[in-house]
Amino acid sequence: MNDLQYADIHRDVVRSIVETGHKYYIALATAIGVTLLCFFFPWFYQLYYGLGAAGVNHPQVWGTYLASFIFWIGLSHSGTLLSCVLHLTNSSWRKAMYRSAEAMTLFSLMVAATFVMVHLGRPWFIHWALPYPNQMEMWPNFRSPLLFDVMAIGTYLTGSSIFIYMGSIPDFAAVRDRTTGWRNHMYTLLSLGWRGTDTEWHRLRWAYTFLAVLIIPLAVSVHSIVSWDFALSIVPALHQTIFAPYFVVGAIYSGTAGIVTVMFVLRKYMDFGRYITELHFDNLGKLLLVLSLIWTYINGVELFTGWYSGASTEHEALQYKLFGYYAPLYWEMILFCAIAPLLCIFQRFRTSFVPMLILSIAVNIGMYTERFLIVGTSLSRQYLPDAWGVYVPSLVELSIILGSFALFTTLFLVFVKIFPSVSMYEVKETMDIPGTEPVATPEGSAA
């Protein structure tokens, strides 16, 4: 990035916001169309005809909606969490990519929250989960992990929104000065009159650091709490103490893979090749490798704990997971999440963009499968054989899963046209300070 000037970064980022090609509109129209057709239409169909439209029934009362909920919450985990950790450890390679990673967190959380609504038979009573005085004199039960979820996800959504917004204020101000019309009004409001004074930078640095410190334990708690939705039940294969770290590692793993996918798209289609480089893919590849090893270890522990318990129900659940109806999915997950990421041992692989994209998508397919198996294989093999059953998602459910990806894409496409996708001031921090550049000698080499 040595040949870059401050003004180049400014121009590139402003251009990515104000100049919109027809390809963008086609992509946005397609994403909105698929969202309406595959997400909202089937959902309204399900609301009209009842939850029977979904494949869930006894004993499988939890299906792909909850698997999707865990998946999207998991995908949200690397963005803000990784950004906070790298901010506190002063890792400069974070600076070009963290804004988009944080946006990924925000939109994944929104999609995850929507899945809670989709899973509910009567989502118009969702406010019953909130503590407010009402004529029924009814209060939510804060001993339930579902209420832990409401608190944790609400806090995480609030924290992530504030974190991405705070970090963007200086960039909103920079874009404000280069835009006109409605955009100028919008950025004037969003930048709150930021001027970039020494006092403002000082306050922002402190506030941002405090937020990072607060958000790291929050992010860890969110997926731990999601895991307790399952682990606090007495269902065989779910009632395990390893579940909280298992979910947290899985979440960071799938989130990191998600970041690789998003970085690839931004690099290729938003023309950010100068900012998102091989270094980012190399570092993300190393992270993926470490996370895949930890994830594989925890999977081994989960199997071992089940086997070592000596309980016949646990053995049955284990047997069913490895060799039962859903076994092909289990082995697909092992292939995608435990074996394929070993390719990241090779630097050549880590610095190759297309192979890394393929791996990141494979990891997330594997991670979706993991979430499906947690819900799918456990509820179908509970204590009594007459309560056993097999669950296959209905067309409505499959369509809503597809639509959720379109919903995420729609939100992200809107984001790239409002937020500067690359943090301008932080990329500037990674460059040579003006006035200290190497001076060219008469022979043309740097002195």
């Binding site: 400014h10 039960n141 804060f142 608190m151 806090t155 924290g159 504030i162 009159g193 006035g435």
Partner: protein, 170 residues
């Protein structure tokens, strides 16, 4: 109307040196406007203290207390005995307490940031759009023309590319 001498610099260290000289010459609170945080500002312009940490601490404390009271209060208002266990059950309520601690900590940190950084800006203040792109700006208040001339000389001597006179509503 208050007048300011505003110098635009290419290099942050020149701007910082100019701000230090202005401060030494008796000008009150020279202000630096920059596209990114500048290292070493506090050594030149004096240590800055922020009240944000107090907001974070007391916000988190308030959140913790409120979270526990919320969980315990709702349990008492809607009594739901389970297996002879206490109505106010500590382990699950600690989770609510933990989340509320963080939530209030975050919200109060933001509040502290806005108050201490004086944002959102209610009135017009000295601003140079180039400072958001690639210029480092030093702005200093001048009471009269003589002071402006002195400030202009200091800024130009320190390497300012140009000096402007800007006004701000008092």
């Amino acid at each position: 109307m208050k007048n300011f001498a505003v110098g635009l610099f290419h290099a942050p260290q020149s701007a910082l040196a100019a701000a230090g000289t202005l401060k030494g010459a008796g000008f009150t609170k020279p202000e630096l406007l920059s596209p990114l945080p500048i290292e070493g500002v506090e050594e030149v312009l004096g240590e800055k203290k922020s009240v944000i940490k107090h907001f974070t601490f007391f916000g988190a404390l308030l959140g913790g207390i409120s979270g526990f009271l919320l969980a315990a209060g709702t349990a008492v208002l809607y009594v739901h005995p389970t297996g002879g266990r206490p109505i106010i059950t500590i382990p699950p309520f600690l989770i609510i307490t933990y989340e509320a601690t963080i939530l209030f900590g975050i919200l109060f940190t933001v509040l502290g940031f806005f108050i201490s950084a004086r944002l959102p800006a209610i009135r017009e203040r000295i601003y140079v759009p180039e400072s958001a792109v690639d210029k480092f700006v030093v702005a200093v208040a001048c009471d009269n023309d003589e002071q402006f001339k002195r400030a202009e000389t200091i800024l130009l001597d320190a390497g300012a590319e140009q000096v402007r006179e800007l006004g701000e509503e008092a």
